[in-house]
Each structure stands twice: as structure tokens, then as C-alpha cells.
Symmetry: C2
Subunit: 411 residues, 2 copies
């Protein structure tokens, strides 16, 4: 078991959490684990979709890693059962049933990324079809009898839909119950999730209590705000730092995090101890630490977590070349252009189409907007708005820069 004392473990586990319900139970469980030499079972349930994991997911995964570092076992549950069924009402066409092969592939994608953070040797991987698929009607009556209708529909989204008189399919009420049953099946000591998961985690605790199983402790983590400083980090908001982003991209994106979120990122996304974070906070407050230097440390620390110190140092150097010194990076890729065929009838180059072709923009339309916004430079000089057609000579052997970080030498 852990070489850390109970107090040391508690300090690590508590750091950066939103709620631990109830904290006393966690201490008792840690003490018992220590006495019995039996690690705690720490549950995380994940949907078997194929996500690009980002720093938002990492908040949870890093907390799990801390449990592992304290000697405990992570039980990662792939929610394959409901994914295999899809939405039986057929209403939600965006949620078709997934095949077993899809689910396995998605699970593997998740695991590959998660194991950048988790220790595979202290991880038990389960699929909830193992126990949910074989439940029969009598079992389900027994499990559902342990909840009242009011308890389930008080969940935020149900409550909202009922008040708006939007239909809720009866089977939807069974999903939180199924998730709670997962905790009964694997006898979790702790379940962790985002603050928006507290209802579901507590349902698991409640069902365990009613099933005469030692109930799990529910641990929630704050939702990480995205690099835009507004929304929670999410792929769909485009405000995320992916765990598989290249080091230079990761470093660059982190340098764009608003100053007032820096401490939150230190708390949730780095390995900094509570003492280190307190010292950074003090420094920022009394002016002894420079915000720019601190953000640089943040970007370096997080990049180093995923790629090591050397890569983080290189990324910082690359960033400095591009952003700090306003010079261009040393290793700009070259693109050989067939100038003849790229020209129009008048012998001119339509730049937006070329940018789209070179994947410097998603479409010619986006490329035009980038030009109009001053985001396109030729050898460091921004193009004026609505300048789309250029002589080939104006482009040949020129560095085309799009946004802050995309560079191509046209040859």
C-alpha cells in the first residue's frame, strides 16, 4: 500500500476538488485500506464514444492518477450496454446503436489517451454489459424500487424538461439507475466525476446503501473553463487543448489562456502541489511574480506533463521565436506550387482557393474572412482586406503566414 500517511493522501486527494461527500467516509475508507492492505476501488464511468481527450478530461484522469499514486486501484467502466442499445425510442437519430466492434474501437481510443495519465498496472477495465445485460425484470423491479420517482426527476435536465412540458421517455429514467447499479456491481469505494455528475454519483451511493453494500464516496471536480475563458472546455466549442495536440500547439494554446484562469489551470491541470499553487497565488497578488512568466511556467509545466521537459523547452523556444521575437520559425515547411495550373485565365492566383488547397483554411470562404481580418501575411506583411487575387510573382518564394502559428514557404 501507500508509503504516504492518511493525512498526506487526504491532502493530495482533496486538492482541486469541488465536493467530497462525505469526507469522513473517505478518511475511514483510507484508514481501513491501510489496515487491510487492500487498495480502494475508485470508479470512473465513461461513454464508449471516440473522444479526443482534452485537458478537461485530464482533470478527472489526473485525480484518478493521484489515487493510483497513493496506492489505490482505478476501475474504469466502459458504458457499452446502453451504447449497444442506442436510443430505443428511435427519437434520437444521433444516437444509433453501436456495434460491439465500434464500442471496442472507441474504448481503445479512449484508453490509449487515458493511459498517457493513468498507470495501466493499477487499472481494472470493465464493461457494464457484464452485469446489466443479464438483469431480468424481477431484478429491475428490485433495483428501481429503491428510488422514488421524485428523486429521479429532480435531476436538473429531467426537471427542466418536465417544467417545459417536453416529453421524457420512461426508459430515460432507467439510465441513472443503471449507472448507479454499476457501483453496486463493482463495489466502488469512491466514484469521481465533474460537478455536473453529482446527481448520478449520489444515486450510486444511495443504491449501495439500500443494497446493504458499503456506500461509495462521491468526489466531484470543477469543470475546466476553455481557453476562451467563457465556456467549459469542449471540443464543440473549439476552446480545448487536446491531450494529443503537438507540443508546440499545446504550449501555444496554453499561452492564450486568460490571466484570470491561470490559477484554475495550475490547480486542475498541472501536478503543482497545494503549497506551490499558494506561492504562485501570493506572487501574483503581491506583484512579485510576473503574469507572463507564470503563464509561461503553466504552459511549460502542462506540456512537460505530456511530452517531458525537453519537448516543453523546445516548444517554449519555438513559441519565443514566433511570438516573442516576432520572427518567423526556423523550420518553415515548403510547398511546391504548380503556378501555371494554379493561375486563372488572367494569369493571376486566387489566394483563398490556394489556402484551402494547402489546408491553411477550411474553405475559400474562411480564407477570405482570414484575409479580411488581417490574419494573412506575406513575408510578415498583412494583406489588406479584400485582396484575394495576386500575381504569381508576389507569392513565389514568399512565406505565407495564416493566423499566429501556420507558416508555409511557397516555392
Amino acid at each position: 500500500m501507500s508509503k504516504l500517511s492518511i493525512d498526506e493522501q487526504l491532502e493530495i486527494i482533496q486538492s482541486g476538488t469541488e465536493q467530497i461527500v462525505p469526507l469522513d467516509d473517505l478518511r475511514r475508507k483510507l484508514e481501513r485500506a491501510e489496515r487491510a492492505g487492500q487498495p480502494l476501488r475508485v470508479k470512473l464511468g465513461v461513454d464508449p464514444t471516440a473522444p479526443d481527450l482534452h485537458l478537461g478530461h485530464a482533470v478527472t484522469l489526473r485525480k484518478l492518477r493521484q489515487f493510483q499514486d497513493c496506492g489505490h486501484l482505478v476501475v474504469l467502466i466502459i458504458g457499452d450496454f446502453t451504447a449497444r442499445i442506442g436510443d430505443p425510442s428511435g427519437r434520437n437519430s444521433t444516437r444509433p446503436p453501436l456495434s460491439e466492434a465500434d464500442i471496442e474501437a472507441n474504448a481503445q481510443t479512449y484508453i490509449d489517451q487515458a493511459f498517457k495519465i493513468l498507470d495501466p498496472d493499477k487499472c481494472e477495465l470493465r464493461r457494464n454489459s457484464e452485469w446489466l445485460a443479464s438483469l431480468n425484470f424481477a431484478d429491475i423491479l428490485s433495483v428501481t424500487s429503491k428510488f422514488t420517482v421524485a428523486q429521479i426527476i429532480e435531476r436538473d435536465d429531467f426537471d427542466k424538461r418536465l417544467k417545459e412540458q417536453k416529453p421524457i421517455s420512461l426508459h430515460e429514467l432507467l439510465y441513472p439507475v443503471a449507472q448507479a447499479y454499476d457501483s453496486v456491481a463493482i463495489k466502488s469505494d469512491v466514484e469521481i466525476g465533474g460537478t455536473d455528475q453529482l446527481f448520478n454519483l449520489l444515486a450510486g451511493r444511495k443504491l449501495m446503501e439500500k443494497s446493504d453494500i458499503e456506500p461509495q464516496v462521491c468526489l466531484t471536480l470543477p469543470l475546466l473553463v476553455g481557453t476562451d475563458g467563457v465556456q467549459k472546455m469542449s471540443k464543440s466549442y473549439g476552446n480545448y487543448v487536446g491531450l494529443t495536440d503537438e507540443p508546440n500547439d499545446m504550449f501555444g494554446k496554453l499561452m492564450s489562456v486568460p490571466d484570470d484562469l491561470m490559477l484554475s489551470y495550475f490547480r486542475l491541470a498541472t501536478a503543482a502541489t497545494l503549497a506551490e499553487i499558494a506561492s504562485i497565488e501570493d506572487g501574483l497578488n503581491d506583484g512579485s511574480a510576473h503574469p507572463g512568466q507564470m503563464k509561461r511556467k503553466l504552459a511549460r509545466d502542462i506540456t512537460a506533463l505530456y511530452y517531458g521537459q525537453a519537448a516543453a523547452k523546445d516548444a517554449e523556444a519555438a513559441f519565443d521565436r514566433v511570438f516573442k521575437e516576432r520572427a518567423m520559425p526556423v523550420d518553415i515547411p515548403e510547398e511546391a506550387i504548380d503556378w501555371q495550373s494554379a493561375s486563372n485565365d488572367e494569369g493571376k492566383i486566387y489566394l483563398p482557393a490556394l489556402m484551402a488547397k494547402l489546408k491553411l483554411a477550411n474553405s475559400a470562404g474562411e480564407a477570405r474572412r482570414l484575409v479580411d481580418g488581417g490574419g494573412v501575411k506575406l513575408d510578415g506583411v498583412p494583406l489588406a482586406a479584400r485582396v484575394y487575387e495576386l500575381e504569381p510573382e508576389a507569392l513565389q518564394d514568399v512565406v505565407l503566414q495564416v493566423g499566429k502559428r501556420k507558416f508555409v514557404r511557397l516555392v
Copy 2:
């Protein structure tokens, strides 16, 4: 198939019903049955408790018998599945799980009484565990996805409890779904029940539609008011006429039905045709029929339904002796009393205890109340209130009468 025309069948089936939803479907089904030479499947679901069936149950059973007489098949479903489970919440101690043997015995008790009315040769007997026990979680998600939460909780009793903030266990929402699934499983053409069952019958219809099965017609029957003229007939209100009541009891209880319920009883509890009932109604309205004579006919007709004309005639004669002529019946049973041991220290008989022992009252307390109310007579003379202790000589070879119909000669 039936020798009756569709219109004749419809007239019989419609008589005395509360609602047929939808009537057009019933006609279409009857026509198809006729064409295909295939009887309709008419469902009744019953709880496997051990009931004393009474005229209230008979309203439904007689309607089923009419379907049989039109050539159709009754599918009687014993709800053994939920009975085997009991109330899994454990809240309802009055509903413990029943053993298979209990359920079979109860089912047999029900069937024995029901077959006083139903034709066993046109009855398919099923148990809903046949299909419900083997449903798995995926099946249940599929079935429940066909209902919205709002549809289920609009049921009267759920709605009421929600408004009163009384807890509803989540599993209770699954029972109407299970009952609806019974219709899918046996592919019923018609389901019948009391007016209070309309919600459940319609749920069956809806689930069949959503399962691409020809939906059942829902037929409801009015609830028979008990002999007290106030509550619906029920064993727990003590206002019932049991199907196994002795002919004299049956006749006597029916003579106590309030005048204004007579037509309802003719409609729901006798074999009288619509024309006969119309004629009785006219007679009562224009004064050409005497209410007392009509009630006598009602009592005779119903008693004859269960025991034949001869027994009904005897019961009427017995009634006349007791009630009309105010004389005592001819065949009073004798009870041999051990006067010595029945006496107390003072050599007196404590009558309430004796009455309880002879089952003339449920308890000595009830016996005292009967005495106080003037309901206990010795040789036709009512005892005064609070006269409980009597000399043995005052009781020996005396007719002890309790209420209107209980007589014992003490010897």
C-alpha cells in the same frame, strides 16, 4: 363461429358497458372474426389473490360470458409474476411475495368461482410470468421507451400522490407497462375491465400500436354499487353479495338493495335483455310495476342465475317466512350448549361470549353492540340494551335470533 349477426353481437356486447374505445374497431374485428372463422381473443387480467368473488366481479365475468356466447375466446391472465415478487420496496407489508403454491391455489379459487359464469371450454388460461419473467434489461428499455413519463404519471393515483408529495417508488411506474405488455404477449383483440381500469387498458392498446400489433379494443364496465347504496361493492366495505353466498343469503341481501339501484343491478347483474330492462324501467316510471315486486324479481333472477330456478324459489319462500310474515324460518339449526361450563361463578350465562363462540358475532364486543342496538332477540323478543348476563333457564330451548337472518335454537 357465432350464429348471431354482427349487429346482434354488437348489441349484446354493448349492453351495460361504460365505454368501448374505439367502437368502430370492435365492429371491424367482429367482421374479420366472422370472415376468418377465427374467434376474438378477449383478455381479462386478474390478481392472484384469493378473493371471494361477488356480483361486482360478476359484471365483468358476465360480459366475458357474453363474448363466449357469441363464439369468442376468453384469455384469462393470472398476474402471477408481480405477485411472486410482492412489493420489492418492502414498504407494503400487506403485500408480501406469494409462493408459487399460494399463487396456484389462489388462481384455482378464482377459477372455481369464475367458472360458475364462464364457459371453461372457451377459456385460455395464462400466467404472465410466462413472458414477463424472461424479459431482460434491453427488452425493458425497449418497452418503456414507448411511453413518456407524463403518460404514465397522469394515471389518477400517481397524479394524486405526486400532487400530495407522497412518494411513488420508481418500480411502480413499471407495473402498468407490464400489464400493457401482457396484451402484446397474448395479442388480445379486446381487453375488459372496470371503469377504473381504463388507463391500464389504453396503455395496452398504445403499446400494441407502437409494437406494430393490431391494437386491442378497450371495453369498460360500470362499477356495481354495493347493497349499502353508497360505496362500490367490495368485501372490505361489507356491502357485497358473494357468488358463493347460500341462496337464502343471496336472496335476502338483494332484497336490501336500495330501490334506486334496482335498474343498475338489472343491467349489470342479471341476464335481462335491453328490451326487458326498458320495460321494467317504464313500469317503474309509470307506476304499473310495483318496486317491491320488481326487487323480488331481481333477487329471484340473480339467485336463479347461480343456483337455478328451484333454489331461487325456495329462497324466496324462506325470505317470505322470515321477513314478510315476520315468522321464523322452519329449519332453524340447533346448538347443544354445555350449560354448566358456559356459566360463570354466579351460575349465569354471559351471552356476548356465547354469541361469539357460536359465530353469531365476530367478538363479544360486537355481540354487546348488537344487543345494545336491539338486534338480538329471544323467541322473537328483542333484548334490552346492556342485558348481557342471563339465567340459563332464560336461554334453554329458546330461538336466539341475531340480526335479520341468523337463527339458532339453543338446547
